[in-house]
Each structure stands twice: as structure tokens, then as C-alpha cells.
Amino acid sequence: MPFLKNLGVEFAVEIGSGSGVVITALASFLACACFATDINPEACQATAETAVLNGRKVDCVNMDLLGAFRNRLFDVLLFNPPYVVTDPCEVVGNGLNRAWAGGFHGRQVTDKVLSTLDLLLSEKGVCYMVLLKENNIQEIQRFMNENNFKSDVILERKLRGEHLYVVKFSRIL
């Protein structure tokens, strides 16, 4: 958290903000402009309401990932992706299934974001992502390293049936 305060964040965004609790918490903590996207229109509505109820400003847009935003805007990107290993055919539509269905290795959506991270983040930008052990963190770290990003596991938690990590990705300068 002190790291984020020192980073001098102007624009922060959460992909798949759902209920909106995470981006609202960030908006309470950092004096920056906070944005959110979700593929599910009802989730967008929920995010907007959660922000308002907590007296925070979050501008939410209904879109797939960050596809409709200009390039290299965001200093902080938060993403708790659909990481569950599922049949790839479950990764369709705009419904609730999009909140968990991650397709092959649970990486279908994650990989889409990570492979374009250079275009999503500003020069100083960082990305925090929730990942599952089955997503193969080492392979992700290798791939990101080849693309000039370092990845640090900053949190690890074993729950019943889920071994989760929060990984921070930042540019290798």
C-alpha cells in the first residue's frame, strides 16, 4: 500500500469489478480517478451503486476487458479474473458464468490481458491479479519475463479446494 501511495497514481481501473467492493476500497485509499469495467451489465450497476453508497467516485463502463479504452492509460490495473479451469465452451456470453469460467488451464481470459499488458498500462503502471495454482504461475512468470514484465507473488492463501496467489506485474525498467 505505501508503494501505491508513492507511485503517484492518476488513473486506476478494475476489470470485472462485479459488486464493486474492491475498486471502491481502492478509491477510498488513493486520491486518483477510478474506473471499472464488467462484461455483465448488472455487475456494472452494482459497482456504481457500491461506490455511491460509500461516497466514492467510480466511473463504470460495460465492456469486455479494457477493449474500449485508449492505450496505456492506467497506472494501476486490478483483475480477479475467471481463473477456474473449465471447458472452453463455457467462456461465452455476458452472464454470471463469465465471473468464473476460465477455460483451458483457467487461463483463457487471463492470457488475453497479460499478453496485451504493455498496451494497457502506463509507463509506471502495475497490475495486480488473482491467480490459481492450476493456472501455472511459473509458466506465466516466464512468459511475462519474455515480454519485459517482472512478476512478484505478493500474497498466497490456501483455502479449501483453492490455492490462490496475488501476483503483481510491473515493467522491467
Binding site: E10, F11, A31, F35, P41, Q45, D59, V61, G67, F69
Partner: protein, 124 residues
Amino acid sequence: MKLLTHNMLTSKCMKAVTVGYPLAINASDVRVSEVDFNPDFIAKIIPKVDWAVLWNAAESIGQLEGLPKEIVENYENDQDFLKKAHHVLLEVDVINGELICPETGRKFPINNGIPNLLLNEDEV
């Protein structure tokens, strides 16, 4: 949708579109609400804003409120300018209306303050 957000949105993801920027705004319901003024923050984000796009967007929905057409010199220390920028960027909300792709004319609805930029499968 704030005009700051509008300044950041494109329709570049559509397959027939090359730039997709700026999106035109057709507003049927605009709300203005007071937001705490943080001059340092506004000064920091001005370099990230496409000013011409902001000015045109504000004009198109009748919310200029004296916003200069160009960024003034030494804007960091110009409270009056920063206040006007703050107002247009953060206090004006398009509640209902639509965004329009400059290349294809595709309309994206804005309902309850939330723009819907989801695309159909055949548009990607």
C-alpha cells in the same frame, strides 16, 4: 459517464474501425453534481487528457461553462482554469444518451450513467 471517461473511450475494437476516436455524444439526460476540488490532481491529469476532444464534447452537450478552447500557459498555478477543467472533467455526468462511433455510426447506449460498449460477435 463523466467527460473524463469519454475522453478515454474508443470504438477501436470493432473490426471495421481504424481509430474510433473520439466518440460523438448524444445526451438526453445530463446531471451536474459537486465533486471535491483537488487542484494538484487536476493539474496532473491535464497532460493525459485530449483537450480538443474534451472541449468539443463539453460544447456538444452544452456544458462548456467558459472552458478555454486551449490549455492556458502555467495552468498548474491557474486556479480559475483548473476549476473549470475540474468541473467539465469530473462534475458533468451523462446519465442517458448514446455514444456514436465516428467511423461506422454504430451507437452505444448510455443508461443510468453506464455506457454499454459491448460488441456483437460479428462486429469483433
